[in-house]
């Protein structure tokens, strides 16, 4: 569950868990988070929480709302964002849920139906292996997941291509043909070589290294004098590849 930590001048004043769909922030006492300070407007801002995502919106306050130093009107809150209202700071913490079943379970697809109460948290707290839970009458398991322990690592969500950093940069240099001597750096995930309709091979960049695979044509690529079969073949430094009559050398750039 996402929470906010209210502080001023580095002094922690309060910890607020975002349980409500709408959490209001302001100077007046009817707000969910009351900050009694003249720099804060009566109704200053609101946080709308939908399942595990929270959105901060400034309600036209006199002195404005800052997120990470930038004034905002509306903002999609990310873990560790710092919201500033006058001298007060609200730190937004929302660590990805970790279910008992491990990282594997929390990304399982679930159905959300209009009319049924959305789960407070999407991590299924069911026994290992039960996995997906669908909100509604037939739900076989309790919906509430344990609050992630502070030790739980923040989930790295971005499906960033792992290849970029893991593998040394590969390149090929043509050894024969009209363009002999020309160098081609293999920056893309896939690089095709050869003549379409005659013979085409592809070099793929993967976290494990570079691989060459036959794509089309009657003849297969030749690596170090040996023709390949239909399987992908790992490329080593200074391998000599022959495709459609052209020889080229694969090497790692240092």
């Amino acid at each position: 569950m996402a929470k906010l930590i209210l502080s001023m001048d580095g002094l922690v004043l309060k910890e607020i868990t975002l349980t409500k769909e709408r959490t209001t922030i302001g100077r007046k006492p009817h707000n969910d988070i009351q900050i009694d300070n003249l720099a804060v407007s009566g109704e200053h801002a609101i946080i709308v929480t939908i399942l595990s995502d929270s959105f901060l919106e400034d309600l036209g306050s006199t002195n404005g709302t800052l997120v990470n130093g930038q004034p905002i009107k509306k903002h999609f809150l990310q873990n560790n964002d710092v919201v500033e209202l006058g001298k007060y700071k609200l730190k937004y913490l929302n660590e990805a849920p970790k279910a008992a079943g491990g990282a594997a379970d929390f990304e399982k697809t679930m159905v959300m139906r209009p009319g049924s109460a959305p789960p407070p948290r999407m991590a299924p707290a069911a026994p290992v292996g039960t996995g997906t839970v669908i909100p509604g009458a037939a739900a076989p398991a309790p919906m509430m997941a344990p609050i992630p322990s502070p030790a739980a690592a923040p989930a790295a969500f971005a499906p960033a291509p792992a290849a970029a950093g893991a593998v040394a940069q590969g390149a090929i240099q043509l050894l024969s043909g009209p363009n002999a001597g020309k160098e081609l750096v293999l920056t893309k995930a896939l690089t095709t070589l050869g003549k379409p309709g005659v013979q085409v091979a592809v070099i793929t960049r993967r976290p494990q290294g570079y691989f060459i695979t036959h794509v089309e044509g009657a003849t297969f690529p030749v690596v170090n004098g040996k023709p390949l079969d239909a399987q992908a073949h790992p490329l080593a430094d200074h391998d000599v590849v022959e495709i459609a009559g052209t020889k080229m050398e694969f090497f790692f750039k240092s």
Binding site: I50, V111, M122, V133, F157, A163, L190, V202, T204
Partner: protein, 274 residues
Amino acid sequence: MNLNGCIEVVGHSDPGMVRSHNEDSIANDVKHGLVILADGMGGYNAGEVASGMATTVLMTELQNAIGVHAPFDIDPDTGLTFAQRMLKDQIEKANTSIYQASQSQPQYAGMGTTLVASMFYDNRMTVAHIGDSRLYLLRGAEFSQVTRDHSLLQEQIDSGMITVEEAKHSQNKNLVTRALGIDPVVEPEVHDYDTKVGDIYLLCSDGLSDMVPDDEIGLTLETLGGNLTLAAQQLVQMANDNGGRDNVSVLLIKIVKEYPAARGIFSRFLGWFR
């Protein structure tokens, strides 16, 4: 009519790197121009049961229905083409089967599945989908997503709450707003599209679209379009290289040559000899 030789279809399904079993299910019938992909959900093996039921029930029923009506004819009752009508009716039937199984058997309680199904006929295709399984199209150098997910995230994007860029960091990625077998009735989204020779269509589960950025999927289809089997393997491999947190399934369809429907009596007669 028989679409053998007019379209080329390759499918590949993989449990991924994390899950122990595969809850995705794929099916294709080149002769009738049918491709179906389902991504099941539910405890224990119920997800597999739901997606398996969706593909088998839908495939069998559609094959039967095509034998009765030509997909391009207009249904006088509804004004829709029979292709649309068939998909809607048979998806309803599959929905009922899954729903009843989940109601009557406690171990299947709450199971459901997403679905994307296409029918190719008369140089056209009709696509029906429910949930977050997608259809993409590569036409020339242009790669685009044809279906729109029925998911919370897509609704938030549509309503302007978040941008597409912000959506990549959202934690609500796995919530679908429609699924097959959850409720007694379901409404699939159905559309018609014209096909062109050289088009490559991709049906995939969210195990691919969540793990591999769209531009890399497009690049793969563009470079490996000459060898669909390799392209399908490559897509699954890319998803697994990026973590493979979910089951990955892909169905690739390439339009090899035109397949206009045989409308007149004579051409229908000729069609028998194809």
